[in-house]
């Protein structure tokens, strides 16, 4: 049987994850802009930095993927939040129904308790599936950002081939590195919110 997490903590956790990813997607948009700028500079620098063309395209692609993933995670988080609140309401209802039964036994109330508990179980199973999906999506962004930081190092090294544009390209590599690290940090914070829920 799937573990049942506190609906109150679940609602808070999913909202916290949505908040972290909202901030991460804002940074991903900045990353996307930085990637586009680097594409333009690489284009101007011409054949001297031909190796950077592929890398800057990679950054642009990565930024777009990150934005899309962040949006998907936001949607999943909101769904999970709705589920948590629904489960919370069902729990409250079951509590009141038990109180009612304790005062006067009634077959109709017993039937309502039974169907409500089934619904609770269904929502709980769905909740557990979605929270795992959320974890996977977060891991995917995390991997993207780790790759982005590694590639930023190559970008910085390649930029030394261009005397005229070296300074600009190095700055861009630093920006991309910083943005990637910031996004990764928000993802790690989101994951730690989930971990705290799963450990509870």
């Amino acid at each position: 049987m799937a573990k049942e997490y506190s609906p109150v903590k679940s609602a808070i956790t999913s909202s916290q994850v949505a908040g972290e990813l909202y901030r991460a997607s804002g940074i991903a948009r900045q990353l996307s802009l930085a990637a586009k700028n680097s594409q333009a500079v690489v284009h101007r620098a011409g054949s001297k930095v031909a190796g950077l063309k592929v890398i800057s395209e990679y950054f642009a692609d990565l930024a777009l993927k990150t934005i899309k993933l962040a949006e998907e995670i936001n949607t999943i988080s909101l769904d999970i939040s709705h589920m948590a609140v629904e489960r919370w309401r069902q729990n409250t209802l079951v509590g009141h129904l038990y109180e009612s039964q304790a005062k006067t036994e009634n077959d109709t109330v017993a039937l309502i308790i039974s169907s409500t508990k089934q619904r609770q179980l269904d929502i709980n199973n769905q909740f557990n599936t979605e929270i795992r999906r959320l974890e996977n999506q977060l891991s995917e962004i995390q991997q993207h950002m780790q790759a982005s930081r590694v590639v930023a190092v190559s970008f910085r090294l390649e930029s030394t081939q261009s005397d005229e544009y070296q300074g600009i390209l190095e700055d861009m590599a630093s920006n991309i590195d910083v943005f990637s690290e910031q996004i990764k940090q928000h993802v790690l914070d989101a994951k730690s919110h989930i971990d705290r829920l799963l450990m509870s």
């Binding site: 916290q16 908040g19 909101l78």
Partner: protein, 244 residues
């Protein structure tokens, strides 16, 4: 849920509205939040049906421990039926609402949050470094009813006053005041019971310096639209159900 920053200086005002996940048949509501330092006040946090969307939207801007205060202009379900949920999520928070409604509002569930009843004459509340004023708006429409005025931002949160019934996807701001009046007319004539109460409120509010007026339903008023609304409301006969 759409979120927009309305004022940003040493403190901030946000509006949260137009929730696409809201069940179709419940009335659309505007929620607001004032953030100052490490404290925040959520104004008319809304009904139970929009609780999860509200929580997710708020946490985009402040961490949960900084949601320290709630304000409910009156007792209606679209204003505060989510209280039982907030009570679990922010148990150390304080709720400011008309004291007259205490026994009624507690039916929504208020075991942890501290209930701070506002007396009929109004009062003040400090959020972080920001002082907000509770402006009496009794009988508009509820028998004990308050609005919130921020003298620094020059913003008046006006509850049901200025409300309009509109489609879910309508703009947040008024584009044409004349055509907007049609959307406000029935609401004010039918929900507002007393011309005397209306004149009391107008006298009080005309003394305030207001650059933005924020109702709980419909569109937001900016600049000269505030004065246009006060004139329009003054001329409007309300409490029409008794006159049929």
């Amino acid at each position: 849920m759409e979120a927009k920053l309305l004022f940003d200086d040493k403190h901030q005002w946000y509006v949260f509205a137009r929730d696409p996940d809201k069940p179709e048949k419940i009335i659309d509501t505007n929620q607001y939040m004032v953030v100052s330092g490490k404290e925040s006040l959520v104004l008319d946090p809304g009904g139970i049906e929009i609780f999860s969307s509200m929580l997710s939207t708020i946490l985009k801007f402040v961490p949960i421990e900084q949601v320290t205060h709630l304000f409910a202009s009156h007792q209606d379900p679209d204003i505060i039926s989510s209280l039982g949920m907030w009570d679990q999520v922010i148990p150390k928070a304080k709720l400011y609402t008309p004291g007259l409604w205490e026994g009624f509002i507690r039916h929504f569930g208020c075991e942890n949050i501290e209930f701070c009843g506002i007396e009929d004459g109004g009062g003040e509340l400090k959020i972080g470094d920001t002082i907000l004023q509770f402006i009496p708006a009794h009988y508009l429409h509820s028998s004990a009813n308050f609005h919130v005025y921020d003298p620094v931002a020059k913003i008046l949160f006006s509850g049901d006053i200025g409300a309009a019934l509109e489609p879910q996807d309508s703009s947040l701001f008024i584009e044409n005041f004349e055509t907007h009046c049609d959307k406000m007319k029935f609401f004010h004539q039918r929900w507002m019971p007393s011309n005397e109460a209306k004149m009391h409120w107008l006298e009080r509010v005309r003394k305030l310096d207001i650059e933005m007026m924020l109702p709980q339903h419909g569109r937001l008023f900016r600049g000269k639209e505030v004065g246009q609304f006060l004139d329009w409301f003054e001329a409007l006969d309300v409490g029409i159900a008794l006159k049929k």
